[in-house]
């Protein structure tokens, strides 16, 4: 399996990353991907800043991808997470999983996102008119991981 993990301030090219997972790769029939962006439904967020724990982020992401690999037959996985200051609508994270069939690709992509949300050491700080404040963790994210604990999936 080919694994690419990157933690970077720079934007990523989701289309190019997905293309790299299937181009000239006849064993791949399915690529499931996820893009997370800076949401700003209320229109109050002027900036979102991502702090992380250098070294542990890459390690945590690699472990999550390896755990996915033991559960599903995957051909390749790319995970890119941005850090530093971002604007509303900016891409934050992408996960793309290539497999022979769609069920493995979809499941592994959702699995990686669920664990990234609860185990990878990133923290969001939003800036609004009131100043900067740290985003609280969501119980629903912890709950999302629990569903993968079932012995038969």
């Amino acid at each position: 399996m080919t694994i690419k993990i990157a933690v970077q301030a720079a934007p990523f090219d989701l289309g190019a990353e997905i293309a790299a997972l299937h181009r000239d790769t006849p064993a791949v029939g399915a690529v499931a991907s996820f893009l997370g962006t800076v949401r700003n439904e209320a229109g109050t967020v002027s900036e979102m800043c991502l702090e992380h724990y250098p070294g542990m982020t890459e390690k945590a992401l690699a472990e999550i991808v390896q755990n996915a690999q033991t559960r599903w037959a995957l051909h390749s996985v790319t995970v890119i997470h941005r850090i530093g200051p971002l604007a509303p609508c900016d891409p934050i994270v992408m996960v793309a999983v290539a497999s022979a069939h769609r069920d493995a690709a979809f499941a592994a992509c959702a699995f990686i996102m669920d664990f990234l949300k609860t185990q990878a050491p990133f923290w969001k700080q939003e800036t609004t008119a009131d100043g900067a404040h740290w985003v609280d963790a969501k119980d629903s994210d912890t709950g999302a991981c629990a569903r993968w604990a079932a012995p038969d999936l």
Partner: protein, 84 residues
């Protein structure tokens, strides 16, 4: 033994410290290290109080408070993560 400690995000701001190196007697667990930090009182006792919602990592792996430390370990204390 020497333990390198890192603080992140809201906890880093609350404690006014991003990192420090502490000399503590061996053997010691992460729980014992936390007790030592709480002993400083003030924000340290409050932010790291038992039952407060923070996470622990030893050498860049999430781990529970009963984890035994070794000389030169890197310990990180941080709020629940919110990336993605």
């Amino acid at each position: 033994m020497k333990i390198h400690i890192l603080y992140f995000a809201r906890l880093r701001e609350t404690l006014g410290t991003a990192k420090e190196t502490l000399e503590i007697p061996a053997p010691a667990t992460l729980a014992l290290l936390l007790d030592t930090l709480r002993g400083r009182g003030g924000m340290w006792a409050e932010a790291l109080a038992v039952g407060r919602n923070f996470r622990l990592a030893r050498n860049q792996d999430l781990c529970p408070a009963d984890t035994v430390l070794a000389d030169g370990d890197e310990v990180a204390i941080f709020p629940p993560v919110t990336g993605g």
